[in-house]
Symmetry: C2
């Protein structure tokens, strides 16, 4: 039997969030958090709208998921995020003890991999899911932004 709820399915939901960010003039990054094939948190980058550097998609999703679950640890959860988490977001994921991190595009300069940010030892990491779609959206954003300035 084919499982429709695979990593690609949920990454598409994260990409929809990234598109919402794009439409608001935000760097287009989106995230969803999933438990037992159910999305319990959706978020997209809102740093410009909220005037707050901490308002990355992952940070908001972590807070929303903990709120939904009524506990601060996300041990049975998977986060899908369109771009590799930065130091801040990877640091928050470390504290959350999340089970699984699935990300799309790699961030060669500011991603947690390049900067050596420590994730929780129990966190499984899968990279590159729909990375081309995520990258294309980011590239389109920065090209349009450059042309406007």
């Amino acid at each position: 039997m084919i499982n429709m709820f695979d990593d690609t399915y949920f990454m598409k939901k994260a990409l929809q969030e990234a598109e919402e960010a794009f439409n608001k003039g935000e760097v287009p990054v989106g995230a969803v958090i999933v438990v037992d094939n159910r999305i319990i948190a959706r978020a997209h980058n809102l740093t410009e709208t909220l005037n707050d550097v901490t308002a990355h998609a992952e940070m908001q999703a972590i807070t929303a998921a903990a709120n939904f679950l009524g506990g601060k640890y996300l041990q049975d959860c998977t986060i899908y995020v369109t771009l590799e988490p930065c130091q801040m977001c990877a640091g928050a994921l470390y504290w959350s003890q999340i089970s699984k991190l699935v990300y799309g595009a790699k961030d060669e300069h500011r991603g947690c991999g390049a900067l050596g940010t420590k994730l929780h030892p129990k966190t499984e990491v899968i990279e590159g899911v729909l990375s081309e779609e995520a990258s294309a959206l980011l590239k389109r954003f920065f090209i349009e932004k450059r042309n406007l300035n």
Copy 2:
């Protein structure tokens, strides 16, 4: 002329915040953010109260300071925090481009120094201000917690 508004003065204010956290049963860490000798944000750790791993003192202080200033960058600000920032908080400080980070006690295991988290190149770092007071409060918290369990 003696300047009463030195690093010790503001670290005492951060320690008062840490004591508030202690009184709420939270790991006692406090922070204040200062511009031109004026405190524009005060916060203490609220991870238990809010059920949210992202609710560290620094994260809340960064959000509050940006809200006060009406802009997300904290380029003319100093943050005073009683404990060395973790990866998440150091990552947030990186994005904020804060001018100066002053911290009290060192966190040998989960501090940004030990874990190699990158701060913004423009951020000056001063460590060890009232570190004994900050450490003593943390030790007291963990001893009391152990005795209660």
